[in-house]
């Protein structure tokens, strides 16, 4: 199965800019479906980016983050060809992990 995480990390030699797009419903638990029944909450709680064994960015999310969430940040350092590890865990305990090469 294809990963739920799409990451693009680009280094300009000084800093690495990271953009990530994740496929996830991000149901807040406040929305009703067509039958008028509440769709139970189902959202990513923690999204972590690791470089060189250390977290460079950690997102704590609630149900207020949009469906198929997008996030962008940048960190100092990071060499072209190096690995950036991305992983998430949602409120139901599901997880996904991927590793992207810095470009």
């Amino acid at each position: 199965m294809a990963s739920s995480i799409r990451v693009r990390a680009t280094s300009n030699g000084d800093t690495t800019e990271v953009q990530a797009l994740i496929q996830h419903p991000m149901d807040s638990g406040f929305v009703k479906d067509a039958k008028g029944e509440i769709i139970p909450p189902h959202f990513i709680q923690v999204l972590t980016f690791e470089y060189d064994g250390k977290p460079v960015f950690v997102a704590d999310w609630g149900g207020g983050v949009s469906k198929d969430p997008y996030v962008k940040f940048a960190f100092k350092g990071g060499k072209k060809g190096d690995d950036l590890k991305v992983s998430w865990v949602d409120n139901k305990g599901a997880t996904d992990t991927t590793t992207a090469k810095i470009q």
Binding site: M26, S28, V31, K32, D60, G62, F73, A74, F75
Partner: protein
């Protein structure tokens, strides 16, 4: 020189943390693991903060203190969001020693949207997309040097994103 209470407390916390690290090393834990162990303790998902309905309670649950408005916190957001389900918002700051950035929407059923931890070496700038139930004030909180700074802006929503 004036040492304010919060600075004093922050220093005290650092001292306590240092003492903890020293104790762990003393117990024979490999020093390498210590920063990660500390990080893990700080990295706990703020469950309580994400349950608070109103903005002030969420900030209190997340940080245990209040924020002061600062023009050094910049928020880039639309004036009018046509679709409340996807509102692109980014925040950046010229403050130094930033440790976290959080986004809150006061009129949402749960005010806290996201809280980002910014380790040393990561730039204090983040972009994301959030849901808004209706027209509301959106607040960005920046934690820098142990203090909280904020910026707010009203965003008009024409179609809500929380099933309203």
């Amino acid at each position: 020189m004036n040492i304010t209470t919060s600075e004093f407390l922050a220093n005290r916390r650092l001292v306590l943390k240092g003492a903890g690290v020293a104790a762990l090393i003393g117990l024979g834990v490999i020093p390498f693991d210590v920063p990660q162990a500390l990080a893990a303790a700080n990295d706990k998902y703020p469950e309580e903060a994400f349950k608070q309905k109103n903005e002030a309670d969420a900030i209190k649950a997340l940080y245990g203190k209040t924020a002061e408005p600062s023009d050094k916190v910049k928020m880039d957001a639309p004036e009018i969001a046509e679709n409340g389900a996807v509102v692109p918002i980014s925040a950046t700051t010229t403050l130094s020693d930033v440790t976290s950035i959080a986004f809150l929407v006061s009129e949402n059923p749960i005010s806290l949207i996201a809280s980002y931890k910014i380790p040393a070496g990561t730039l204090p700038s983040v972009a994301n997309r959030i849901k808004m139930a209706k027209t509301s004030n959106v607040t960005v909180i920046v934690e820098a040097g142990g203090r909280l700074y904020s910026a707010s802006k009203e965003i008009k929503v024409t179609v809500g994103g929380c099933g309203g």
